[in-house]
């Protein structure tokens, strides 16, 4: 998992997170909103202050996510073998669940798929992903 992401991790009221997610494009180039739960949002590639319309919100910088961008063919090869659940068809899309036996977050844009995993699982996941990256070369 070659990339480490600086991000902002927010736990707040769902309405407040809805607004941030909707306006994610305004937060800067490359910011990817990953909605883990109705009350939990991670803004990948985002650092610095952010307005959250919830006075009790928990907002912390979070550099613990690592990831790997896969092209469409590699992602299809990998997910077909290692993902037992239906991936969304629309793009862009966020999904999460077990892949290769480990909990990951998936971000599908028009061309590529970003696989994100917690640092504490990243090395093990990388070992499971490696054969597919090798096959794609």
């Amino acid at each position: 998992m070659r990339e480490r992401f600086d991000s902002t991790h927010i736990v707040a009221l769902p309405d407040a997170l809805d607004r941030i997610e909707m306006d994610a494009l305004d937060l800067g180039d490359g910011v990817i909103p990953m909605r883990f739960a109705p009350d939990e949002l991670v803004l990948l590639n985002h650092t610095g202050p952010i307005d959250v319309d919830d006075s009790h919100a928990i907002v912390v910088p979070d550099g613990s996510w690592r990831g790997e961008w896969l092209d469409a063919d590699t992602a299809a090869l990998f997910l077909r073998a290692e993902c037992a659940w239906s991936i969304p068809e629309r793009r862009p899309a966020f999904a999460q669940g077990l892949v290769a036996g480990l909990p990951v977050k998936l971000w599908f844009d028009q061309q590529r798929t970003l696989i994100v995993i917690a640092h504490v699982r990243a090395d093990d996941f990388a070992a499971r992903l490696a054969p597919y990256l090798e096959a794609a070369r």
């Binding site: 480490r4 991790h9 736990v11 707040a12 009350d39 939990e40 919830d54 009790h56 919100a57 928990i58 912390v60 910088p61 979070d62 550099g63 613990s64 997910l79 077909r80 073998a81 290692e82 993902c83 037992a84 659940w85 239906s86 290769a100 036996g101 480990l102 917690a118 640092h119 504490v120 699982r121 090395d123 093990d124 499971r128």
Partner: protein, 745 residues
Amino acid sequence: MAGSTFSYEGTAIDAQDGDSVLLALLRSGRRPTEGGPLCLAGDCPNCLCTADGVSYVRACQTAATGVTDVAPHPTTGEPPLPPFDETAVDITVDRRQADVVVIGHGRSGTAAAEDARAEGRAVEVVDAGEGVEAIGIYVGPHVVARTPNGTREIHAESVVVATGSSEIQPVVPGSGLAGIYTPRAARTVLDAGIELGTIVAVGDVDDETLSAASLDGVVAGELVRFEPAAGSSNVGAVVTKTADGEIATPCDTVIVGLGRAPRDMLARMAGPGEATIVGSAATAAPLPQCPNDGVVCPCSNVTMQQLDDVYDRGFTHIELLKRSTLAGTGTCQGGVCLPYLRSFLADRGESIQPAFTARPVARQLTLAEIGAGAHTSTAARTALDGLHRKLGAQMDRMGGWWRPWTYGDPDAEYAAVREAVSLCDVSTLGLMTISGPDAEATLQRLYPTDVSTIRAGRSRYVLMLDERGYVFDDGMIARRDDGTFLLTFTSGGASMAEMWIRDWSAGWGHDIRLLNQTFSTGAINVTGPRATELLTRAGITDPPPWLGHGKYEVAGIPCTIFRLSFTGEVSYELHHPLERSVELWNALSELGADLGCRPHGLETLLRLRLEKGHIIVGQDTDYDSTPRRLRHEWAVNFNSGEFIGRHAVLRTDRIPLDKQLLGLRFDGPPPIEGAVIWSGDEYAGAITSAAWSPSVEAGIALAWVYEVDGGFPTEVRATGPDGEPITGTVTSLPFFDPEGARARA
């Protein structure tokens, strides 16, 4: 023309193109089992063999091409396990999603697939003849098939089973002889050009087969038995009963036509409503005539006599027949015996009972196929994992994490903590932030302590109790400000605790925010009499007081520092962004080098905390550990209002104490953890933690000590590490620095 060759008991067997292993063997005058009717359709167990080390393989369904070694299935006992093969290939898994999976690509399956596609549904068709053989239907539904390259797993909304019908096999005396074929099997063998000698037919054999067989005779009458050829396990005659009595017809081969039954093994694997069965697989066929004698279940070798015996003992349901005789539990899962079990019960006046469930898998799989796509569970790795390994740490898994057990010199690690300063990676501790209008109210109910009295910047040790008042975790509560708290938990306890907090707060209708930071935060414990000096060098001139906490920058890295102690020495837990763990560790190591700073692993930490009598939940606690049994009554405040477990603790406090977690002191090395302790001849409990204490210069232990003869023993006996009896004395805790002066220094 020979297309391939395989070895069979030391003999090279030539196979023609398209041959199955069975056809090639029959062509050479052999067969992999002693006998029994052959169906050549994979429905019976009568052609099992061991192919290339894999036992229970159906020779009729296995292409000869690619097989190098075939062995006969043993006539008694089990085939040997294959040797461990280090060169075993990886088996790939092809995972697919579909609206409908159709199993079987015959007429009915094709029609079902077309109908589904016409409705706009995504369809996957699986057919053994096309190289994709369904071997199981699991809950979901979820169809697993084997392919030439591996396995295919298809998750679907529905499954259509169109597997056709199987031929009913004869159950009469002698049906275990070789040379008996069903009509379809006979055609396949004859089409392959295999010589079958003198052939006769019995029962309802179709014209196509009769014509292909160039029969030497069609035997009239009801099938009674088969008789062996002299000195042979091959059939030598078939005996039928006619109005004129029994007639024995000499032959080398008998084709027996007894009709068909639904081939429904896969359908019987599916849960209720999960599969639609179509075509012949769904067609109720007439039950065969109930046999009087013979082997009804060739897989489990169950005879009609055995069925009679258990029926007479009251096993009158098909499920009971199955369980009491094991009929239907073999590799064909009732493919042969199920029609007969039903006709047996019908013959005795029972209702025709539904078929029993079939269990996956339908074909023998290799371990590689079974394990395809599965991964071993992993232990999490802290951000310092690589660094520990570079330092030569012996790593071990504990609490769901890889942790350094020792860096090679536990005595030096221990000395660093007691005499200088040491670092320990405690990133594995559970950590959460909770805020919100009801955060304090939630914590007040979750913990048996008065959270309202924890001031900002202060923290408190807490137990987590379940509804029965049993301890299932412990940790710290630290108040950041009016509405925000940091919570810590045991390593491995955070996930359960998070669910616990979310479930209860939701049930109470509380408005909270909760962030589990266990996997996103690193933590390093700086501990030892020179810990404060090391922090000063790292820029901290006003560290938090005992049980205080606050935000700091340590060597330029933002940290939340907790002042507490698990080791019994001055300790600071530095919680920091995980991505800066290595930087922080290296900075502290460098700054503390001339102070004697070195890391310590879990072995040392466990010894240190034992000297202080600190418990480890899960190791020193049991499934029924109340605060009183743990001698942690001091951590429960009944004046704090309602909390989970309060009433259970109050109730159990009124019951006489039957066991306690107590400290034991031994003059020499202590017993091993888990060792039983005795008071006289009475069982008196077990050791939960034990170590040699350099500071106390004695073996020390925590143990569950049971009440014996109306009191708690003050001395117990155990078996020492060398097998000799040793005596332990119950000792007050902690073993070391009972005033706690060192930790608060």
